[in-house]
């Protein structure tokens, strides 16, 4: 959040509109889906729920999403596949860039989606195998998720006895203050003898079992 405050700029009333992308139709849907669990009244960060609230932050929003500091998902898309993935898609990033470059239009109120409802976020799952450094599974294991314990940038892979290598998790910009698990979209069966590699010295993870 610190960086957001540094680069916040005042709204201009004289932006030239050059994009069909609007807050009401596209951007609000992205914000509600990806950001509003924290950025809402009563949330853990300032609200971005309305155009009036989001407009002054547009430069910061753009920079944060392009550098993938926000949302604080902390993993690279497409290296592992997660059912609780909160990272922006390339399309969503493109929409935000286009909207910010194109004059930040508000659009028509009738296109606004209903504000989302939020459940209390689940805590970190407990249990699992703690892995430090390379680790060989002594028995078959159905992997359901990964929890960073002592986080560091890492590319976590599973080397199976058949010689195949499965990408599990590529941590980049993971922030412990936004600790969360990475829950696989499909549980992964790992036979006995599989090597878990990629945890750097000083870091550790927990492998969650299905």
């Amino acid at each position: 959040m610190r960086l957001l405050f540094l680069v916040c700029v005042a709204a201009s009333a004289h932006d030239i509109i050059t994009t069909p992308i609007t807050w009401s139709r596209e951007i609000s849907r992205i914000i509600y889906t990806r950001c509003a669990s924290c950025h809402r009244p009563g949330g853990m960060a300032f609200s971005l729920m309305t155009y009036k609230e989001a407009r002054p932050w547009v430069v910061a929003i753009r920079e944060e999403v392009l550098t993938r500091r926000m949302p604080p998902w902390g993993a690279v898309k497409g290296f592992g596949d997660f059912r609780n993935d909160q990272a922006l898609t390339p399309e969503e990033m493109e929409l935000i860039v286009n909207w910010s470059e194109g004059g930040v239009p508000e659009g028509e109120e009738k296109h606004l989606p209903k504000p989302p409802k939020f459940d209390k976020p689940p805590g970190l799952p407990k249990g699992g195998i703690v892995v430090k450094g390379d680790y060989q599974l002594g028995r078959k294991f159905t992997l359901d998720g990964i929890v960073p314990v002592a986080a560091a940038p890492m590319k976590l892979v599973a080397e199976l006895p058949d010689g195949s290598i499965e990408p599990l998790l590529w941590l980049e910009n993971y922030r412990p203050e936004f600790a969360h698990p990475f829950l696989l979209r499909k549980p992964l069966d790992l036979p006995a003898g599989t090597w878990i590699r990629g945890v750097p010295p000083g870091a550790s993870i927990r492998l969650l079992q299905k």
Partner: protein, 278 residues
């Protein structure tokens, strides 16, 4: 321009009910989507028109054999499922003359492939006899458009056993056998629009390739950013302009440009460094 075409397509799907591109969705089965009003073939409910969320579909990539060896052919299978009911998606819209565009880039950014897996009766896309030349990580970008949804750009990763390749060898060249590149600004700034002006030599015999005068893939040196673009300005003349926003400072981005001349597809590449404004 890819970006505008893409955004236009996306926007068209988000237009209000009176628009001919309105999407009708089953309230009970959100994976049932079509452009015409009617009832859900699954549950019989009346389909409702609405503004669909820009939802990310699921793409599963499997290889046969599962273990990938450098220099050994493998077959790829891409399966698309909807994010609500996890049912296979079998209806797709054509994007630039194909149902599925596949880009593959190697860890050292030396290997580049843009090709088109074929949709098969099993409801999946197949690409056979792919040979990955070296050990290391390969990033795969799938570009497809499920019917009555929003366009999808989904990346996957293939890992080939063996020692990691040497890091990317950066080139500062701005001229190749087929084209020259000039950027505006000369030193691109991360997060800001960069114009990439290409001049083709010779400038004759140019033809559209897959529905565009040129195609571009941009990959960051760490393979985190993968961006697919089409020209901002192009009309068949030797001048082609792309606009790109390079996301992160202090990274080099390799751009591959593809164009067709007299029936032959040409692929050229350049490296562009993104700097920090501050």
């Amino acid at each position: 321009m890819k970006r505008r075409v893409f955004l236009g397509a996306l926007t068209a799907n988000l237009l209000p009910a009176q628009d001919p591109n309105t999407i009708f969705i089953c309230p009970m089965d959100p994976d049932v989507r079509q452009h015409d009003p009617g009832t859900c073939p699954r549950c019989g409910m009346k389909l409702a028109s609405g503004l669909p969320e820009p939802t990310e579909y699921h793409l599963d990539l499997t290889t046969t054999p599962r273990a990938i060896r450098p220099g050994q052919p493998i077959n790829l299978t891409f399966a698309v499922t909807d994010p609500w009911k996890h049912r296979p998606v079998t209806k797709f819209q054509v994007v630039h003359e194909r149902l599925f565009h596949m880009f593959i880039v190697s860890q050292d950014l030396e290997f580049f492939l843009h090709d088109h897996p074929v949709f098969a009766p099993d409801g999946q896309f197949h690409y056979n006899n792919l040979v990955l030349p070296k050990p290391g990580m390969y990033r795969v970008l799938g570009d497809f458009y499920p019917d009555a949804a929003t366009p999808q750009l989904i990346s996957k990763t293939l890992l080939v056993a063996g020692p990691a390749p040497a890091p990317m060898q950066v080139s500062e060249a701005r001229k190749s056998d087929a084209m020259t590149l000039a950027t505006v600004p000369e030193r691109p700034i991360a997060g800001m629009n960069t114009q990439l002006h290409f001049t083709l030599t010779p400038g004759t015999g140019l033809q559209q390739y897959l529905g565009a005068w040129a195609h571009m893939l941009v990959a960051s040196d760490d393979l985190i950013d993968l961006i697919h673009l089409h020209p901002f300005i192009a009309d068949g003349s030797p001048q082609i302009q792309f606009n790109a926003t390079l996301p992160r400072p202090d990274h080099t981005y390799r751009v591959w440009v593809q164009f067709q001349r007299n029936g032959t597809v040409n692929t050229e590449r350049f490296d562009v460094r993104a700097t920090d404004l501050r």
